[in-house]
């Protein structure tokens, strides 16, 4: 299993990353090295081992259903690149065609 430049371009696109030609080549190499190492790990017999989803053995970390104060709208909108008094603003995501 090896990663092609095309795969890297696709993954970058999904993550909204713009890569230069050089970066793409660089990451393709690096990703392949990582996968080569994974191949090595794959030599181990793990058929009797449960897949690990979390490295710590904690579970059932809950919050009671009790209302906590929200932040003010003014503060909520403060960090936004664009907003009006009530809403966050983004360039139109659906064309009116």
């Amino acid at each position: 299993m090896s990663v092609t430049k095309k795969d890297v371009e696709y993954i970058a696109k999904l993550a909204r990353l713009e890569l230069t030609e050089k970066e793409t080549e660089n990451y393709t190499d690096q990703l392949n090295q990582i996968l080569d190492y994974m191949e090595k790990l794959n030599e181990l017999d793990t058929s009797n081992i449960e897949p690990l989803s979390h490295p710590v053995e904690n579970f059932n970390v809950f919050r009671e259903d009790i209302i906590q104060p929200s932040v003010s709208r003014e503060d909520a909108l403060k960090n936004a690149p664009d907003a009006n008094e009530e809403f966050f603003k983004v360039p139109k995501v659906i064309k009116t065609d």
């Binding site: 989803s53 009790i66 209302i67 906590q68 709208r73 603003k89 360039p91 139109k92 009116t96």
Partner: protein, 480 residues
Amino acid sequence: MNQKYEAVIGLEVHVQLLTKTKTFCGCRNKFGSPPNTNVCPVCMGHPGILPVLNKKVVEFAVLLGLATNCEINKRSIFARKNYFYPDLPKGWQTSQFELPICEHGFIDIVKSDGLEKRLGITRIHMEEDAGKLIHDQGTDSLIDLNRCGTPLLEIVSEPDMRSAEEAYLYLVKLKQIVTYLGICDGNMEEGSLRCDANVSIRLKGEKKLGTKTEVKNMNSFRNVEKAIEAEIDRQIDIIEDGGKIIQQTLLWDADSGDVKPMRSKEESHDYRYFPEPDLMPVLVNDDWRKSISESLPELPEHRKKRFIDKYKLPEYDAELLTAEKPVADFYEAVLNTTDDFKSASNWIMGDVLKIINERKIKIEDFPVSPENIGRLINLINEGLISSKIAKEVFPVLLDENKDPRTIVEEKSLLQISDDSFIEEVVGNILGNNMDQVKQYLDGKEKVIGFLVGQVMRETKGKANPAAVNKILKEKLEAFR
């Protein structure tokens, strides 16, 4: 539908949970608040935030799982479903993928032909809702993040439905269950219950599945049925014309009554699910499961059966009264005041529901209290008013909601059971209608109906009909 084909339908239903707070933060979970007022760094997806799961969400999920005959997984985990869209500031939806909380359940429906059918549930998982985008303002899209992080349960059915009717009945049943459980208000118009349908067709007898399409944007129960019907017809037309079904997402257009393809750009999905590292696994042990199951309220099927057994109601009445929990609650509240089970049922199915539908109100907002409906029924049964007078009292009750006995007294509507008074009226009526008396004596006994009518008219409907009948007969016979 062309009889050569059968449809294969599966539904994905999202229900918004009636918790006080959101899934992973303490922000208020409330529909209709001013935009961006129920938000905090957690639900706005600021960097460095840590979600903490609302325990109630797990309990609601287990409740629904138990009510739909699911297995409750002892261990379930959350996953990130990654995609970019402005209503989802984190860049992923926190959901469940590999290990959902409930699996392998079912719902039973009864079709219009009376046949029962069991429809499988593949899984129920916990997830969060996205924010709301408003597109119709100028050159920008506006975002309200109040809904962001609202708890949802997604219920995925098996592809067990074979017609739009079955899909409709499944959805109605599911709504009934979530509203009885009190975990969702089931309002499709407001979006607290949403439904997408996967539809394919195949020749009858064929085992292989056809290519499926996904139909979205159906915002009422009837629209789900109509949209699926339209999509089945569309697919049959394509196949009959020698074409092929393309796997795609379609949007239902309620105005034109057909489905239209979504632009393909919006549906190229690659979610790259992976386990959510910030949320610990959820373990539901036997004790917890047991304590949740003890809080299970009576479910619609059981309540219907109880109405038939305990109140001796016909199946039709029981079905209608238990279709919606508040109506069933209202019925049983009436029974606190009267033990005439069938009359209570008749009043609710007739006069009460008629007003509810006319005024488009909820039964919770019905102006007459269940006690006063019960009292009205008792007045009839005690012979104090006739059922005809009761129909006159009812509109007054609607306006004033006071003890019907007071209304009856104020308006002097009390039934006249005083025999001597009735005898006098009957005597007068007979004296004025000797032709009819003659006919009666000649064997035309039907004429008695006319004479009863005359007496009732004279007494403005207040004479006790049983007494009138009895006295009339006696006096008529006395003429022989």
